[in-house]
């Protein structure tokens, strides 16, 4: 019985925290967010050298052969400082290839991904708020030696930074994933509430994709990818929510009103305590879900739906109250707490909102 992290995992956590402080502090995050692609190639190379892009990739494919719980440590710590690097998108793509790809696809694509030579992203659903196979709406027409894609993927995370895209489509025989390079598609950037989470619309105008770039996608695969996507997002929510709590808690100790620090008033300190309770709780649920990805896959659906079901609404409320407890200064663009409000809104629908996940918990629990 050991629901804690290993020495190596703690060292990894410290390493990421140091990187965020030294190489990617908030002013840098803001600068990257304001750029055209929302991406920084130099930082990406550093992340690659530190091994963070290769964690869940097996050793035979050039990775470190670690687990989702290790990836969780990295995502939690990068999100604490709102790191805009597409580490989660890269991991999601690796997870999809590992789950659905052929041996030759794995051996030809994963090593470059592990080394950070390419930036990859994955998009599953086309309906803005529906987790269901029918929400994969990009259609494919079979052609000699492959399929032809004609249409739009409206919600592609990190689209502008990506060299390669793994896009879910619907063909006559069911679902599939198509691997495309950036020069096969056109992008439209989408101004985002959260500039640290860039995304775009991807248009395919009669693009032919050869069989060697197609991966089968069963409904079980789609469920799995949705679940691990939710693990990645919830890991980021844990780090970001904890940062928002700390920032607000520190402010409450310093801000004097009516002659006392506002943290001395129960209207403030009790809300901070409730936020602590929520963050601790969805953190525990998330750690269990992240552990379950590799160690108890049968328990993953329920475990992650509890974690994301709890976190989505709780973090959204933390974002709002973080601003509220700061008062007018929290409303300014200059103060960083507003960036966390935006991040909380970003995280809420990603891979299922609370309504989706809690309804699933009810179903899996026998209702």
């Amino acid at each position: 019985m050991n629901f804690g992290f290993t020495e190596e995992q703690n060292m990894l956590r410290d390493q990421v925290a140091r990187f965020m402080q030294e190489a990617c502090p908030i002013p840098k995050v803001r600068e990257i967010g304001a750029s055209q692609t929302g991406f920084d190639a130099a930082l990406w190379q550093q992340a690659a050298q530190l091994g963070w892009l290769s964690l869940i990739i097996p050793e035979e494919n050039g990775g470190l052969g670690l687990r989702w719980i290790d990836l969780t440590v990295v995502l939690e710590e990068t999100a604490r400082g709102l790191c805009p690097l597409p580490i989660a998108s890269q991991a999601m793509t690796a997870a999809a290839i590992l789950r659905c790809g052929s041996d030759s696809q794995k051996s030809s694509w994963l090593p470059a991904m592990a080394a950070g030579e390419v930036v990859c992203t994955t998009a599953l659903y086309d309906d803005p708020n529906w987790i269901h196979p029918d929400a994969v709406q990009l259609t494919a027409t079979p052609v000699e030696g492959g399929v032809r894609l004609d249409g739009v993927k409206p919600f592609v995370p990190d689209a502008l930074a990506a060299d390669y895209l793994l896009l879910a489509y619907r063909g006559p025989d069911g679902l599939g994933l198509a691997a495309l390079s950036r020069d096969q598609v056109t992008f439209t950037p989408q101004p985002q509430m959260d500039s640290t989470k860039p995304a775009g619309r991807v248009v395919m105008d009669a693009v032919t994709v050869g069989d060697e770039f197609l991966l089968p996608l069963s409904e079980a695969d789609l469920d799995y990818l949705t679940d691990v996507g939710a693990v990645a997002v919830t890991a980021e929510m844990v780090g970001a929510a904890e940062a928002a709590l700390n920032m607000t808690s520190e402010y409450a100790k310093e801000r004097i009103q009516f002659g006392k620090p506002i943290g001395q008033y129960q209207g403030v300190k009790h809300r901070l305590a409730d936020i602590y309770v929520d963050v601790e709780s969805f953190k525990s649920l998330l750690y269990y879900a992240a552990w379950a990805v590799d160690e108890a896959p049968d328990e993953l659906p329920r475990a992650i739906s509890m974690a994301k079901g709890y976190a989505s609404d709780a973090f959204a409320r933390i974002g709002i109250d973080g601003i509220g407890l700061h008062g007018a200064i929290g409303f300014t663009a200059e103060y960083d707490i507003q960036l966390y409000l935006k991040r909380s809104k970003w995280a809420r629908p990603m891979y299922g909102d609370s309504d989706y996940h809690l309804d699933r918990v009810a179903t899996l629990g026998g209702l």
Partner: protein, 386 residues
């Protein structure tokens, strides 16, 4: 990170299960000697005061074994391991930590053997949450103290034989936490009067306890004079793993789900109502969060890292769940949910209605939710004290 148990731990779990299979017959088959036999048998196994040192009659049980024992007992819905909940939870540990050799010899065996029931005299009419401000007075006269004052909300007082009592021995102190002393007092001492208070559920569990010139021998003082606050706080800090409570709450959730499955709402099955589904799912999610919070804190303890006040997190969850689950059952079942036992329309024999009026037992006793929030904000987040 792993959720495996060692071979020894597994073997212990099997031992507990085997014991329960033999010693815990179904409710309808239990004879009138059942409880007495149960108490004798668990005592012989060394499971009463399981974590206490062997030299005082305990078993030196490890943290994981304690959690296993609690979990299995809760799964089996077994009776308590002794008749004195408070004796086992903090009076015994307090005496082991602060008591004299004579006190250990006099009190510990009776607690373990379920011969004596203890109650706890902390709250006073004007001092509940603000416990350190107590006024119940003890004056030293020769070889004894003379106690005058009143306690209130004393759970179990009507049927307890002993009380662990906080009194003020010094009124001239700069900080209210000083000048408090802890005394062990027989409830049949001359001058002790118990007046039960009826609660809103119609039960008479708690009471006012009056002390008029009650003589308490010096050898019944626990710890030094003026050290009562320290004794109390460290005894209450004898934090237990919440695994037993979590298991109980999962059991209650199952009963609630069964109620949902057999109830209609506006003419439709309640189980199809999105609000009902979401509410039940959030209960389940919060109980699971308590479970995994508890395992994280248990892991810290096993690694020898000090716990701060993290256990307040689960106390807050438990408080809100105790209130909300019963309230939800009552709301779900409409007018029938309001009925107490005694009519055929009552839901589950009126048990939800009854428990929806009984939550303060758990929620207010041992520190209100707002006190838990103060603890988290001040001790963990470092906010200034009120």
């Amino acid at each position: 990170m792993d959720f495996e148990y060692t071979a020894d731990e597994q073997a212990f779990r099997e031992e507990v299960r085997d014991f329960l299979a033999t010693n815990l017959p179904p409710r309808e088959e239990r004879g009138k000697d059942f409880l007495a036999n149960w108490l004798t048998n668990v005592r012989e196994k060394g499971w009463v005061g399981f974590s206490w040192p062997k030299e005082f009659g305990g078993s030196d049980g490890g943290l994981v074994e304690q959690a296993i024992l609690r979990e299995e007992m809760a799964v089996a819905k077994a009776p308590p391991l002794g008749t004195s909940f408070m004796g086992l939870a903090w009076v015994g540990p307090g005496i082991i930590q602060y008591g004299t050799e004579d006190q250990k010899r006099r009190f510990i065996p009776d607690i373990l053997d379920s011969k004596v029931i203890w109650c706890t005299g902390y709250s006073e009419p004007n001092h509940g949450s603000d416990l350190a401000a107590i006024q119940c007075k003890a004056v030293r006269e020769g070889d004894h103290y003379v106690v005058n004052g009143q306690k209130i909300w004393t759970s179990g007082a009507p049927w307890s034989q002993w009380i662990i009592l906080l009194v003020r021995t010094d009124f001239d102190v700069d900080v209210k936490h000083k000048g408090i002393t802890c005394l062990l007092v027989p409830m049949d001492s001359p001058g002790v009067e118990v007046k039960p208070i009826e609660n809103m559920a119609g039960d008479r569990h708690f009471a006012e306890v009056f002390f008029t010139d009650v003589k308490v021998p010096l050898e019944n003082r626990l710890g030094d004079e003026g050290d009562g606050w320290k004794v109390t706080v460290s005894a209450l800090a004898n934090e237990r793993s919440s695994i037993g409570e979590v298991t109980q709450m999962f059991g209650k959730l199952d009963t609630l789900k069964e109620l949902v499955r057999t109830t209609t709402r506006q003419g439709r099955p309640a189980s199809e109502d999105p609000k009902v589904r979401r509410t039940i799912a959030m209960f389940e999610t919060k109980i699971a969060a308590m479970k995994y919070n508890g395992l994280r804190y248990l892991t810290k303890q096993i690694k020898g890292e000090p716990l701060s006040s993290e256990t307040s997190v689960n106390k807050l969850h438990r408080a809100s769940l105790e209130i909300e689950m019963d309230d939800f059952a009552v709301e779900l079942t409409g007018q029938a949910g309001l009925l107490l036992s005694g009519s055929e329309e009552a839901v589950s024999g009126g048990s939800w209605a009854k428990s929806s009026l009984s939550w303060p037992n758990v929620v207010i006793g041992g520190g209100t939710p707002n006190i838990q929030r103060n603890i988290i904000a001040e001790r963990i987040l470092g906010q200034p004290k009120d």
